[in-house]
Symmetry: C2
């Protein structure tokens, strides 16, 4: 097998110059990042690293700084979820929140230097430095709340997960600013972890309960060149799921009953068909896992690390394992919108084809994870099956996670909403509430989204020595060097509101290389024009390859067939059987009550009639709306009946669909992605 | 307003002579009642009244008799639900289980004297007598587990609920055997309750957390003639939901925080839109309740009591309140199968038109309650809207609660099953498991079903002074007296497998009276033949009235139009929109995997083609199966896709539907009541 390794252009080497994503990034920088920082202040996250170090007690952090008063107490209500009492002390995942915010802010800094923002980061970094132990250990929770207990509950306490996010943040901040301090702090911590975990005698033979550090270690390896970070990542992946179970051994070693604590106790022994450790993908070694089980974000992050390791090591068995999991996810367990995780409660995958809409969990973080995973698969094998799903997640389930205004967020992204359905969720489970919220006690999603939005430039282009790939259609500029020749690639497009993109390729001197442009799955007839003339491009794995000598300025125009279309789900997805959804380019659409009135279940799309599309500059920040013909079931003639012999009367109507990502930005109301159909069988 | 009061013929005055219900009753007597008694022994329910009285400590019951060993310990596993530890001591609802079993057994005794069975009852009665306190108080839990705490938690502890079931049991046993002892014990208890609760100073101004005693008090009044029982029932109903809240006052009086205990604490303050006390129908006075809120069984029992009080008092405002609740239930919150309660967890009603199928709760007890409520509405106003729903519940959601063999039970009755869906329910919530179980820790349903099955004769006929009503079509014999003349009514029918019933009316001497036969809603053309000749019968409120002089033997044949038909749900029931279900006579049908293979979501009924019906004597105890034409979506041509542009291929198929009540009596598999349709619009 040929593992064709390519690399994405680094985010800071790609400038987003306008259009759809520029607007999202501007909102992210102007609104989201400051709002998130403010929440970190209000909830004590910033304070958790700032105040805890007590200067007179040198490296003996103060305990109990977080009393229920002042600015912290004020926001305790925000921290309540599921009726739990808020804990006015650093939570065991708070480090990861700060890290993801630093990472997002770093991406922003690279494009837009901002001294105030840089100072905010530097202050946190300074505090991290003070918190760091002599041996490099760096974790707020275990330094403050449970000193002396480090590495005793790697299973559930997110210690290695937080470390991973700190690594990603440090890499980003170093790459953005060139400042080394944070990176050095984090390398000391990575070295400490490397001395602690591994195959050697005297080390802990274990792996994290929540994957993240594995992909972060590969990143750290790539930035520093330190091979031991790569090896440690490989160790964590290879060790995962081996018998006897590390999770059980760890519990026993520290006096916990594995039957009672963790998911075994919480969820019941048979909760997951593959056993309780499947929630953590630790039921089997990764190469033996045939289906994507358990917590969706964990699976995606694990997939990222596995692909990264394949890229670095060429490990074929690991690549095969990646592909098996990827296929199970994307062919049987993924929402139309590219998101994953059908089950709330444990935020996990359900069984094949079980994809409920109103109760869809589809966590924002999991869609971020799908984007990252897809990109990593794509680096190994440039095949549009990966890029199509990367794009699908990005344009739909990722950005649905944040409001157009940028200040409220979805944790769960439902595919249908009936407001009465989760009316109590704001009390019992705010993550499921079908209206974006300012914050969540578990705030992974807003942070994760911010860092992805800010680094989207890093997902547009990749290259090998002899090829340059265009995966996404985003206004941007980048440069590559082929055969010692600089080539500038400048992309201009109105996509996704228009069906073409224009690439200006400017070669410093004549150079032979391949430029391969993705031919998206939705387009069944894509044209390529080079300098105005239709060009022969060879289609390989969903990419249109232009292999030629590039000289001076060349204009490539790629034109997709991009009509709004009705799509259907595999008939075993019983929630969607007999229904249809609307896709236009990469965008999935939905019906909202704001456009179509209430009781969306009474709308039956007439799929025999054509859909039309229209750009509405003043609607939802400027979107294409899609209109179609439908029949609406009359409700007036039921006269108090609830059931009757078939024979409904219908009225003709025109429905209006808006992009899914933009839903819930107007008045609250119903929404549905999947629409009933007048006829199930496609009309000839 | 005219409150036309009629009364049902007492169950013991109607002999079921054959056919559909005779078979069910025989299984009930031969298998179900002994199996339930056995479970009461195994789980300690019988022991709880037998052993607890310690003869040497005169009326000081022993505590702690129920240790985890011997026969009790053996069955603790059966008692575990939701991960709770089994409690090896009488539970606060165990008295009601014994009472319902006695009630069921009593109905059986009337028709089939059985000394062994009578002895079993007498022994329990003897034990109850010993348990009874000097002042008449009789409750095992508060006598044994929490002595001295009686009437301190009427809100949640089912004390009055158990009392109600004891009253119903005592009435039934007295009516069946003529023995007065149990009735006298229970009257002493009722008197004790009457001295304790009421409007007068010094009494508790309160009402039960779980309705039941209200309807039981009316029954006790009817059997004994003691008006104070009727008045107490009226007091409980009138007091319910008044402000300030009795539930809160009771909690405060006994040192409990109303915000933390009971549903307020458990479910969160805003769990129910109408507030936490709506779970108990105590959010508003009953006459101000406009929608059926909260726990479904409680609503049905409350409806029964309200109707009973209307029957006894002619209270028009109470009748209006009954009708308002009834309409909300039957027009917006009832399953096609006549059951109620869409939400698991709190076993409650959801919002209008919210009727999920796979997660339908539709508790068996709630369907029993619907039958009882419908009958009581019918006593006041002979209108087939009530009888149709009584019949719908009886033939569908009531008897689906027990297997054809009679030894396993459903607590929740789903309207669709996908085995993977609740694979973990056997651990986390056995009540939701889509396969009948031998027993439940909370065993209300098996007992409730047994008593209804055994008393079904009491739901066939009712009468006023001048009218005799035939509500159900069941082989049976009864007698009435009109104008001092005895009239025997003998009904012979193959219903529901045949479309007619034959009534032989034999008048001792010529007598003028009305015989009114229900014209069921499913029949759009019902014929009445009297002595072989088509007769003019006037149709009033869904009843065909034959007003005439009856002389000697008269044969009435009523012939329904009874074809299998496709039905639909109100289009606001979004789970059923675009789907259809099959009804044949009173029976709702379903597709099972056993007949149609897996992936029932791939089946699309072609409603333009006729359904056919065929009696299969060897299938499921003898049923009519319904067959229809459908298209089945191909799954072979998807080639790893999960979504694609519309254009599914279909294959023609013939599906086979079986009565819903009979599902899950073969190998486990999928089931669905609601079926996808090829065309939503009915073909002209």
């Amino acid at each position: 097998m040929h593992l064709n390794r390519t690399s994405f252009m680094l985010w800071k080497d790609v400038q987003i110059t306008g259009g759809f994503w520029k607007k999202r990034q501007e909102t992210n920088e102007r609104v989201t990042l400051p709002a998130e920082y403010e929440q970190c202040v209000k909830t004590g996250r910033i304070e958790s690293v700032k105040c805890l170090y007590h200067p007179e007690e040198d490296r003996h952090p103060r305990k109990g700084v977080f009393t229920i008063d002042g600015v912290l107490a004020e926001n305790l209500a925000d921290e309540k979820e599921n009726g739990e009492k808020a804990v006015p002390r650093p939570h065991h995942y708070w480090d990861s929140d700060l890290a993801k915010w630093i990472e997002a802010a770093s991406y922003s800094l690279a494009a837009h230097p901002d001294q105030g923002l840089e100072k905010q980061i530097d202050e946190i970094v300074d505090d991290f430095e003070k918190l760091q132990m002599e041996d490099g250990y760096l974790n707020t929770y275990y330094t403050v709340v449970e000193p002396g207990q480090r590495w005793t509950n790697v299973y559930t306490m997110h210690e290695l997960y937080c470390a991973g996010h700190l690594m990603e943040a440090a890499c980003a901040y170093y790459q953005a600013t060139g400042k080394k301090k944070f990176l050095e702090i984090i390398c000391r911590y990575a070295d400490c972890i490397d001395r602690t975990f591994g195959i050697e005698d005297g080390k802990i033979h274990g792996y994290p309960g929540h994957q993240e550090i594995e992909l972060a270690l590969v990143k750290l390896y790539r930035v520093t060149g330190e091979k031991r970070y790569l090896n440690l990542a490989r160790y964590f992946i290879d060790e995962r799921g081996k018998q006897p179970s590390f999770f059980e051994e760890e519990a026993l070693a520290h006096g916990r009953d594995p039957e009672e604590e963790g998911p075994k106790g919480i969820l019941g022994k048979s909760f997951l068909p593959a056993g309780p450790y499947a929630l953590f993908q630790a039921h089997l070694p990764v190469r033996e896992q045939k289906t994507a089980e358990g917590h969706a974000v964990r699976v995606a992050y694990m997939g990222c690390a596995m692909a990264d390791l394949v890229a670095e090591t060429g490990d074929e068995s690991l690549w095969n394992a990646c592909v098996v999991l990827w296929k199970n996810v994307t062919q049987k367990r993924m929402y139309l919108t590219g998101g994953i995780g059908a089950k709330d409660g444990s935020e996990r995958f359900s069984f094949d084809y079980h994809l409920p809409n109103e109760s869809a969990y589809q966590e924002t973080c999991a869609s971020v994870g799908m984007t990252m995973w897809a990109a990593r698969m794509l680096q190994i094998k440039p095949d549009s099956v990966y890029a199509d799903i990367m794009e699908r997640a990005l344009y739909n389930s990722v950005i649905s996670g944040v409001s157009l205004a940028g200040d409220t967020f979805f944790y769960a992204n439902h595919l249908a909403a009936k407001p009465e359905m989760f009316s109590d969720a704001i009390i019992t489970n705010p993550r499921m509430f079908p209206r974006r919220q300012k914050w969540f006690a578990v705030s992974c999603c807003p942070m994760n989204l911010a860092r992805l939005l800010e680094s989207v430039g890093g997902y547009i282009y990749s290259e090998s020595e002899t090829e340059f790939f265009v995966h996404l259609f985003i206004d941007s500029v980048t440069e590559t060097v082929k055969e010692n020749t600089r080539i500038q690639i400048c992309q201009e497009t109105q996509y996704p509101w228009d069906n073409k993109t224009r690439l200006i390729v400017t070669a410093q001197k004549p150079v032979y290389t391949s430029i391969a442009v993705r031919d998206p799955a939705f387009s069944r007839n894509t044209k390529v024009l080079v300098d105005g003339k239709e060009a022969e491009a060879s289609l390989e794995n969903g990419y249109l390859y232009l292999r030629r000598m590039w000289e001076g300025r060349t204009e490539i125009i790629v034109e997709f067939e991009m009509e709004p279309m009705y799509v259907e789900a595999h008939p075993c997805v019983r929630m969607d059987a007999g229904k249809t959804a609307i896709q236009y380019g990469p965008l999935i659409y939905c019906l909202e009550e704001a456009d179509n009135g209430p009781n969306l279940s009474t709308v039956f799309a007439d799929t025999a009639q054509k859909l039309t599309v229209k750009y509405e500059p003043d609607l939802l920040g400027g979107v294409c709306v899609v209109e179609g013909k439908a029949l609406r079931a009359c409700t007036e003639d039921w006269e108090g009946m609830l059931y009757r012999p078939i024979g409904s009367r219908f009225e003709e109507m025109t429905f209006r669909a808006v992009p899914y990502y933009a839903w819930s930005n107007r008045e609250p109301g119903e929404m549905t992605v999947w629409i009933n159909r007048v006829h199930t069988r496609t009309e000839e």
